[in-house]
Each structure stands twice: as structure tokens, then as C-alpha cells.
């Protein structure tokens, strides 16, 4: 590791590796650091990846990290009504269930091939400021304190991001915009291996339960609850255990792993850059508020930040003003949808089990060509306008 780089990317998840790749491709001397000893583990993720987003984010498809290809998604109401969306018509979260550890490693390898230097077991502990300007990072590099100087820092340090906070970017979110999640990898279960399933309603207040198949009898089975709704620590686990116990197909389930995690489901932040710093992916809170999906969003925002970082190095301008190019790029691709889905999320969180049953029953009857929050609401308005009165401003 050298003492000085053009760009240092903090965190080798999908967002960080994408940023490092495109910064390096653009000619910037780039360092990618990962605090863990292994890139990719442990996995804190449902591992669903939509096909259209994969294309949009320019993620090169690699069979090694695909666990299972889905035919579609199924949304299940508390009363057992099912709404099926086949893959070709699903706008989101259908496509692949991936192996996140292998995926992350593949993306980091691409960053390395592009010329980025990579250091594992290297965590950032603070930014170095001189005359009020950020000029580098303090690191613990394989156990030893170290400093690295750089012109640009890209914060890709995930939900628990520190880079943004050190730099003074406000990434604080209210508990109404936080999901608290637990997931088990369960095997020996009876599932439809070609469909991802989403269970709505009071089984998971303010969120949902997901079953994402990894193979014929194994799935990621997880729950996200609205953080403003949970009463005490451990509730996501309690709700998930209770739900699993009621599933006939999961009577003989065996656990292969257990992970937890936080997920932001906020409306897009006002700003994710400041002088010398850009945030990407979860660190920038760029996540679909409806689904909690963020892999492709991280890749896309990482790509855009990486490209702009390389341009900034060439231009010799690392100011907040220059980084508006990055803001424009990711916002033009994602912001409108994220905001719309956040508005919808705010309302869906308040629906009763009865309303879910009615809604999902209606959708099954109607069917539709192209699935999106917008189209779903439109379809419902035709059948039962009183149900979507609350959503009128979205239409």
C-alpha cells in the first residue's frame, strides 16, 4: 500500500468495488479497502437481484455467483391470497437469487483487474483534515495504525457508514425509515424453487417476510420490521420464529446460518456528497424503500461515483460542485422511483390485514402487463377506488 492515492474507496461491497473499478478504469490511482479479512463474508442480505437492474447497473453476468434463476415472484396476503408475477413482467426484485459472497468477490476482482489496489483487514477510523479540508484517511491496516493521503474518498461503508458522518454529510434517518431484519438460511424445507415469495401483513408489521430460494429445498427466509413499530429488542427474531413455526413446509427446517441487519427505507437524501467525499449504495441510503433491495442500486451509484471521481482527478477539481455530476447521474436513474416507492411504503405500512387480503385478491383478478407500484395502484383504482384513495397523490 502506498502513502498516497487519487481515490480511496472505503468498503469492498458491490458499491465500493464498482466505484473502485470505474475510478481505476478512468485512470485514477485507486485504493479499495475492506475492514474484514475476507471480501464477501459474512453475508447480510436476502440475495435477490432483479434482472433489469443488473443490466441497468452494467453488472457483468457471471454464472459462478448465481444460485438460482427465478420464474417469478409471489405476494401472499395474511389470508393466503396469492398474487403471482412472472419474471418477464416483474419490475423489481425478481430475476436471480445470488451467492453474495461470490458476487462481492467477483466485483472486487473486476476492480483489481481494472487497476485498483485492494487491501483487506484494513479499516478506516477517521478522516484527516488540514485547514478544514479532508486530505486523507486514518486506517488500521492489518492491526497497525497507518495514514493514507488522497484527493477523493468514496464512502461505500454500508448501512453503518462512518465516512459520511466524519465528513459532515447528514445521513441520519428517522426510525420510521429503518427496517430491522433477521434472516435464516433454512434447508430441508418444502418450497417452490422458482418463485421468490413475499408475505405481507401483521406477520411482519411495517415490513414483510421473504422466502428467496437458493436451490430446491433451501432458501433465505427473513423478516424486516418497521423500526418505529418494534417494542423491544429481539422482536424481529421472535416474529420470524413464530411465522416459521406455523409453516407446514418448514416443520423439518434445518438452519444453515443466521444473519441480522439494518436497512434504510427513506426518501432519497438531499445530498450524498461534500468536498472531497462521495457516498454510494447503502452508505448514501440509496435503497428501494418498498423492497429494501439495494445491491444493484449500490452497483449503479458506485459506477457513477467512480466515473465522476476519475473525471474529477483529471480536472483537478474535487469540490462538492464538481460532484454534482455524480448526484445528477444517480438521481436521474433512480430518484423518481425511490421517492415514489417511499411514498407508497409510508402508506402500505399502515394497511390492515383485511385490506391486504382485498388488495391482493383484486390484483390476482386483474393481472397486469407491467408490475410497478404505479401500475398496481392504477389497477386497483379501477376496481376499488376507495382502497387507493390514500394513494391518490401517487397517481
Amino acid at each position: 500500500m502506498d502513502a498516497e492515492y487519487d481515490v480511496v474507496v472505503v468498503g469492498a461491497g458491490p458499491g465500493g468495488s464498482s466505484a473502485a473499478k470505474f475510478a481505476a478504469l478512468g485512470g485514477a490511482k485507486t485504493l479499495l479497502i475492506e475492514k474484514r479479512q475476507e471480501i464477501g463474508t459474512h453475508v447480510r442480505c436476502g440475495e435477490g437481484l432483479a434482472r433489469d437492474l443488473l443490466v441497468q447497473a452494467e453488472i457483468p453476468l457471471d454464472r459462478t455467483w448465481i444460485a438460482a434463476e427465478m420464474d417469478g415472484a409471489r405476494i401472499i396476503s395474511p389470508g393466503g391470497k396469492k398474487f403471482e408475477v412472472d419474471e418477464s413482467r416483474a419490475g423489481n426484485e425478481v430475476g436471480y437469487v445470488i451467492e453474495r459472497d461470490l458476487f462481492d468477490r467477483a466485483l472486487a476482482a473486476l476492480a483489481g483487474e481494472a487497476g485498483a489496489h485492494i487491501e483487506v483487514k484494513t479499516s478506516a477510523t477517521g478522516v484527516i483534515k488540514e485547514n478544514g479540508k479532508i486530505v486523507g484517511l486514518k486506517l488500521i491496516h492489518k492491526g497497525e495504525p497507518k495514514e493514507v493521503r488522497c484527493k477523493i474518498i468514496i464512502g461505500a461503508d454500508g448501512y453503518e457508514s462512518q465516512v459520511g458522518r466524519w465528513a459532515g454529510i447528514d445521513t441520519t434517518i428517522a426510525d420510521t425509515d429503518i427496517m430491522t431484519c433477521v434472516q435464516y438460511r433454512l434447508t430441508n424445507i418444502d418450497i417452490d424453487p422458482k418463485y421468490t415469495e413475499f408475505y405481507a401483513g401483521s406477520a411482519a408489521p411495517g415490513g414483510y417476510i421473504w422466502v428467496f430460494p437458493k436451490n430446491k429445498n433451501t432458501a433465505n427466509v427473513g423478516i424486516g420490521l418497521g423500526a418505529h413499530i418494534v417494542k423491544h429488542g429481539g422482536q424481529p427474531k421472535e416474529f420470524l420464529d413464530r411465522w416459521i413455526a406455523k409453516q407446514p413446509g418448514m416443520k423439518n427446517a434445518r438452519q444453515l446460518d443466521m444473519v441480522a441487519g439494518g436497512c434504510s427505507i427513506n426518501a432519497p437524501l438531499d445530498s450524498v456528497v461534500c468536498d472531497n467525499v462521495m457516498l454510494v449504495g447503502d452508505a448514501a441510503r440509496i435503497i428501494d424503500p418498498m423492497t429494501g433491495g439495494g445491491i444493484a442500486h449500490a452497483c449503479l451509484s458506485g459506477r457513477d461515483a467512480g466515473k465522476v471521481a476519475a473525471e474529477a482527478i483529471k480536472a483537478g477539481d474535487y469540490s462538492k460542485e464538481f460532484f454534482q455530476k455524480y448526484e445528477k447521474a444517480w438521481r436521474s436513474a433512480l430518484e423518481e422511483k425511490l421517492f415514489r416507492n417511499w411514498m407508497a411504503k409510508e402508506k402500505v405500512q399502515k394497511l390492515s390485514d383485511e385490506t391486504f387480503d382485498t388488495l391482493i385478491g383484486l390484483l390476482t383478478e386483474v393481472g397486469m402487463e407491467n408490475i410497478s407500484v404505479f401500475n398496481i395502484l392504477k389497477a386497483i383504482r379501477e376496481k376499488a377506488p376507495e382502497l387507493v384513495k390514500e394513494f391518490e397523490d401517487l397517481l
Binding site: 474484514r36 479499516s123 453503518e160 458522518r165 429503518i178 423500526a227 418494534v230 429481539g234 443466521m258
Partner: protein
Amino acid sequence: MPTENVNKCLHCGLCVGSCPNNAIFLNEVRLEFNDDCTECGLCSRICPVGALTPGRK
């Protein structure tokens, strides 16, 4: 400050990213709390696995 049950904690970072005062740091092995903690109780309440016990004001 809250106390961490290291046997329950999955090091997921939810408390770190949710803390309104950035008073929690995760060093991959355990959580560290700093003096910016205001005992608001959010981290203990929303911990997915119940690994945090609120401190006393």
C-alpha cells in the same frame, strides 16, 4: 450507555447505522459506545436479536 450481550450480537451494524448521535462503533468483534450516547434507547429497542440492554440515565 447500553451494554452488549456479546453472545447474542451478530455484528450486523444496525445499531451503528441507526444511532442518531453516531455514538456506536463496530470493530468487527464488539461494539464500542462513546460519550455522545444520550441514552435514547433506540439501539436496544430495534436490535433484531435483543443483544443490547439500555443503560441508565
